[in-house]
């Protein structure tokens, strides 16, 4: 049974001691007299998210059905094993499998090709059994993580093992980005903007008593609007150009979390530096005018996610936009200042680690003078939300 629990943990399902105790309590009470009910009971106790159903089913199957089907570890061994490695190298060298294409393949497809070759080779590898090697390192192990390509090691090995289970009813709910998103959520949820909203229907007891006393005991009710957390948020994302490419995954994680955590949040996109118009879609085809953006109101929180890394001329010179056909005379610096003025509660999140800022690009420093800048780490985001909350308090109260 302990093996089962560790299997769950290995499969990436968070298990707390609390669950285990509950599980035993249920078993002792005879909740699960047969395998079907054991399955359901274990799932209810251990799995809280539909994304994990699939992984759970595999672990359960492995532990209790004793299915000889290949487990996650075996796939890992296979993928990092020598024969696969060699096959991959040969394919790439011979040009049958261009490296660019590798990025587009998932493990499943790759394995399929591997199988096909092995079958076709007819004996060169002493049949189809012996090549399941162990040890060795995958040449593409970590580089794969980068471009979303072949993740030979790590998380998506899972995705391959999914191949073995028959009914994969929950596969379409699989996690998109499990990376650190839990901590992120906690940090983001601290972002607050308490404002009086709605009708005046909360009784202000203190004011009522004092008014009533002044009135000589004749009751006078004083109502007030209640305070509620109403964060309005605009997120401006730099999604253009190669300079942001290495950070796409990171930004995506943060991005998805922001989307989940707040109800009123709008996303706009820009390329390198803001010159007036921003865009409502990632392809930057639906322009949103500068005036409309600025009219969002001073209470709106603004988060800019970008590397602030550009040619100095893009920031400081007239007609500096990266778009060569630009007709905009105002330099980016001025636009950014306007943006800052319109959104007093704003912060810039930079995916480049903080200690790289000074030597990465001079424009980072200049933009840092306009916007409060934090890096895209957990700590950085924590600081950023704290900063927004402090700045925001003043703005909320002033209105």
């Amino acid at each position: 049974m302990i093996g089962f629990i560790y299997g769950l943990i290995r499969a990436g399902i968070p298990v707390s001691v609390h669950y285990i105790l509950e599980f035993y309590r249920g078993l002792r009470a005879g909740i699960a007299p047969d395998l079907d009910r054991l399955f359901l009971f274990a799932r209810l106790v251990f799995v809280k998210r539909v994304e994990h159903y699939d992984a759970f089913e595999q672990v359960f199957r492995e532990t209790f059905l004793g299915d000889p089907a290949v487990g996650a570890e075996d796939w890992e061994a296979l993928l990092s094993g020598k024969p696969f490695e060699e096959w991959l190298r040969r394919e790439v060298e011979s040009g049958r499998l261009p490296p660019e294409a590798l990025r587009d393949f998932d493990n499943l497809e790759l394995l399929e090709r591997f199988w096909r070759t092995v079958m076709a080779q007819d004996g060169e590898h002493h049949g189809g059994d012996t090549w399941v090697g162990t040890g060795g390192r995958s040449p593409f192990g970590h580089s794969g993580r980068h471009g979303g390509g072949i993740r030979v090691y790590g998380e998506s090995v899972h995705g391959t093992a999914q191949k073995v289970i028959g009914a994969r009813r929950y596969i379409q709910y699989s996690d998109e980005t499990p990376l650190k998103s839990e901590n992120l959520r906690q940090v983001l949820s601290t972002l607050k903007s308490l404002r009086p909203v709605g009708p005046e229907n909360e009784l202000d007891v203190d004011a009522t008593i004092s008014r009533t006393a002044k009135n000589g005991g004749e009751i006078e009710l004083v109502f007030q609007r209640e305070l509620r957390n109403r964060v309005e948020l605009i997120v401006l994302v730099d999604n253009g150009g190669y300079s942001m490419l290495p950070y796409v995954d990171l930004v995506k994680t943060v991005f998805n979390k922001i989307r989940d955590c707040f109800r009123d949040v709008r996303f706009y996109y820009f390329h390198n530096c803001v010159y007036g118009t921003v865009y409502a879609d990632p392809q930057r085809r639906q322009p949103v005018s500068w005036e409309k953006l600025l009219a969002s109101g001073r209470k709106t929180r603004l988060i800019i996610i970008g590397d602030a890394n550009m040619a100095p001329a893009e920031l400081m010179a007239s007609y500096g936009s990266i778009d060569p056909a630009t007709a905009i005379r105002k330099p980016g610096f001025v636009w950014l200042c306007e943006l800052r003025d319109a959104f007093p509660v704003s912060v810039w999140l930079n995916p480049i680690p903080r200690d790289h800022w000074p030597w990465n690009s001079p424009t980072i420093g200049r933009i840092g003078e306009i916007f409060h800048m934090e890096d895209l780490t957990l700590g950085g985001i924590k600081n950023a939300t704290a900063y927004l909350n402090i700045q925001g308090q003043g703005v909320d109260q002033a209105a």
Binding site: G26, L40, L44, R49, E182, E218, L221, N229
Partner: protein
């Protein structure tokens, strides 16, 4: 914690009005036996809310129902202290209502959770669409549900559940629920019923429907679901549709673009136009 043995005696076996998936039946029974809140998620029209009503009906228990709103703070589900009424009574007298101004209990009204905790019989407590509430509210409710107790702040009085209610929570997953909340519930995702189950569901509502008619309707229904409309038709739409066709005396559901009473299946203008093959931009 209620003793597990005590609760095992209660078993839910479904009712004649509601088709119960055997898996779901076991899940409900496990949740009842363990005394844990059961969180049901899944697409609209999979019978999440209905399940709570059927549990109450099958076990012959009374229902306490809380339809969540985004403005809820959590406390009003437990109790409401009516200050204004008390002030009014203190000034003008309570008349013949029997309320005593000096007794705060006369001015405390219990919400669904409060009623479920204070009553003598065991009840089914439904928290419908919990995801509409703020995450703060959910966190407030956590402790209440876990301990089976809440405190009336005004008089610092702790209300303990005499009988742990059977708690059913539903969520449409409009927003993600917090992890601590999930941790304290049993969570179950109800998948959309497949054709075989759907036949049984429809039969419960229309027992005398001809076989061929039903098969043809379901075929069209699942085809439409596959087509990626903005709001794909769900069980409720299917039942409406079959009802409409029977009331209208239509022989069959029709094929291709010629589906009878399409308005009952597709609700959005955009979807209907798409279904009929008319692009919006081509209409002047």
């Amino acid at each position: 914690m209620p003793s597990v043995q005590h609760c095992v005696s209660m078993r839910f076996e479904g009712t004649d009005r509601y088709y119960l998936n055997p898996e779901l039946r076991e899940i409900v029974n496990i949740a009842i036996a363990m005394g844990k809140p059961l969180l049901l998620t899944g697409e609209a029209g999979t019978g999440k809310t209905q399940l709570a009503f059927e549990i109450a009906r099958a076990l012959n228990l009374r229902m306490e129902e809380a339809r969540c709103k985004s403005t809820f703070k959590g406390e009003e589900l437990c109790y409401v202290y009516d200050t204004v009424l008390r002030l009014n009574d203190s000034r003008f007298g309570s008349g013949d209502t029997g309320r005593d101004v000096n007794n705060i209990w006369d001015y405390i009204r219990f919400g669904p959770i409060g009623r479920a905790f204070t009553c003598d019989d065991r009840r089914v407590l439904l928290l419908d669409e919990i995801d509409k509430t703020d995450s703060d509210t959910q966190d407030n409710l956590l402790d209440v549900l876990e301990d089976g107790a809440f405190i009336i702040r005004e008089i610092n009085h702790k209300i303990r559940a005499k009988q742990r209610p059977i708690i059913i929570i539903t969520s449409n997953a409009k927003r993600e629920l917090s992890d601590p909340f999930l941790r304290r519930c049993f969570c179950h995702y109800i998948p959309f019923p497949g054709p075989e189950e759907m036949v049984k569901i429809v039969r419960l509502h229309y027992p005398d429907i001809p076989d061929a008619f039903l098969r043809a309707s379901l075929e069209t229904f699942y085809r439409l679901r596959e087509e990626g409309f903005e709001k794909p038709p769900a069980t409720a739409e299917l039942l409406d549709w079959i009802g409409a066709m029977r009331a209208g005396g239509v022989r069959g559901p029709g094929a291709g673009k010629d589906v009878a009473h399409i308005g009952t299946l597709l609700k959005r203008t955009q979807d209907i136009l798409k279904f009929k093959g008319i692009r919006k931009s081509f209409r002047f």
